[in-house]
């Protein structure tokens, strides 16, 4: 049986993030969390591959510093078979190196696999580093920015979206593929699926279960500050009796700004 591993991040729901206007600090502590969008596409793709192959199982792996069970339950309801989870509040400062290292150790502990699927980047930090770092640590082929996947026999073929071309690449499995959001439309689990998922297993692992190397999880990057950008927009509302009057006023304003005409 083929095993597909999907890396899932519990991300800050950036659309619901609030900023303290006085300090420009983000209020992240109370911000809702959700499964990172791109990772949801990766999971959906894994489910599609499983549906096609028939004989396959899907494991998810997650590193978090807080409870991520809601996200894992959602993944199981969508169609994952087992969810593995490292919940270590002590890993608060872990960076992309540490995250990739812990995921690699989790995957080594799981054992055999054919495919690792990741989101191209994460909803909140938007780094896009963990996938390639993981491919390096596990010494497997890497295919990034992928919008289409085909699994046949022991090879995976993927269509990559580059800046100016679509590149089709092929590799022997096991391989790591990171997907873009255009690859699919993730399913919304039905009540039936949610109920069935409650019987599926969430495996919680600790740093000591994985015998993590302190040097490797030590942060290599230091955060100096995070601040909301200053927005100094005029916010002028243009009103009028009808569309033409509004358009005239707007056109006049834009000419005065010097942004249209010569």
């Amino acid at each position: 049986m083929r095993r597909i591993i999907v890396c899932l991040k519990q991300a800050v729901d950036v659309s619901q993030l609030k900023v303290d206007p006085a300090t420009r600090q983000l209020i992240t502590a109370s911000a809702p969390r959700k499964m990172s969008d791109f990772d949801k596409n990766a999971l959906e793709e894994a489910i599609k591959i499983k549906e096609k192959l028939g004989d396959a199982e899907i494991y998810t792996v997650t590193v978090s510093t807080e409870d991520a069970k809601a996200v894992l339950r959602e993944a199981l309801a969508m169609g994952a078979d087992r969810a593995f989870f490292v919940n270590e509040p002590t890993l608060k400062d872990v960076d992309t190196f540490g995250t990739a290292y812990i995921l690699a150790e989790m995957i080594r502990k799981i054992g055999e696999y054919s495919l690792i699927l990741c989101g191209e980047t994460s909803l909140d930090s938007f780094s896009g580093l963990v996938g390639p770092r993981l491919a390096e640590l596990l010494n497997v082929p890497q295919m990034t920015s992928v919008r289409k996947i085909l699994v046949e026999g022991d090879t995976v073929t993927a269509e990559r979206t580059l800046e100016d071309a679509i590149e089709t690449v092929k590799a022997k499995m096991p391989a790591l593929v990171s997907v873009t959001r255009e690859i699919n439309q993730p399913r919304i689990p039905s009540l039936m699926m949610i109920m069935k998922a409650s019987k599926k297993e969430i495996v919680t692992l600790t740093a000591s279960d994985l015998k993590l190397d302190g040097d490797k999880i030590a942060p290599k990057i230091e955060l100096v500050e995070v601040l909301a950008p200053k927005t100094e927009r005029k916010k002028i509302k243009i009103t009028g009796e009808n569309a033409q009057e509004i358009a005239d006023k707007l056109a006049k304003a834009l000419i005065q700004e010097g942004v249209i005409g010569r």
Partner: protein
Amino acid sequence: MEGEKEMSENNSVMVFSDKYDLALEILGKAREIADKLQTELTAVLIGHVVQKKADEMIKYGADKVYVVDNHGLERFQPEAYLGVLHHLAVSLKPEIILIGSTKNGKPLAARLATRLGTGCVPDCAKLSLDEQKRLVGERMTYGGNAMAKLTFKMKPQIATVPARAFEKPEPKDRKGQVIKLEVKMEEPKTEIVETKPLETSNVRIEEAEVIVSCGRGLEKKEDKVLLEELSTVLCGQVGCSRPLAEDRKWFSEWVGLSGHKVRPKLYIACGISGVIQHVAGIRDSKVIVAINKDPEAPIFEIADYGVVGNLYEILPALKESIKKQLQ
């Protein structure tokens, strides 16, 4: 002599991008950093028949250009390129490595940082040095809600730089050294089956001075013509938000955090609600106009001029009005 050479290279700044123009842009900023650190700037050029480019890179600021000229490296290949950069990083021990943040470059930087056991700050819009002469990168985070300043706890310090973050410097008549390298090619793990050029417009939207952009408020694909007519009058380009490209497939590309980041003189957002990821892609525009039926749409919060109204009425009227007033 040998010792002196070692010293000068040991804390150099190294630049690589698989997109040549981006490499030149980065060289400008890297030159500035290398001067502040009083160190050497080296560029790495990988490909086939690249001598002319190597000479040019010196004009753009490099002191040394390491050239790996190999027929097998004409096209980007993750492991082979990684092998070259890793070899150079280990032998030259640069203190800073700047890599172009392209679709191939960012994963390359991530893997190089992993192989070297160090950190990587991706997509730096700004780069500077702190008091301890550590590299500080500034990047957008939390879906565009914030800018993060990050620095490094160890060396080499690896950062990636997106296109157009820095201006391409003026080429100067400078002296430098081009060094040919023979590197044993690392075995590729993937095979390129096919490369098809992407169906994109000839003009890059990043270069447009005016962008008329639409979002979900546009009801039919054919209605794009309304935007096209206005943008023609303004000598601009048409753009869109992500749902119109990825969900409705009416466009092949979009503006936003995951698409193109733009900074035109004028951005006109029509029927775009203004989710944070879209805003992140347009934040640096000089003037932003929002046209939206919903007075509560968040796009108005970041607009200089807001019109609560129907884009189907406003756009044709605006086109006529601009034509008239510009005469």
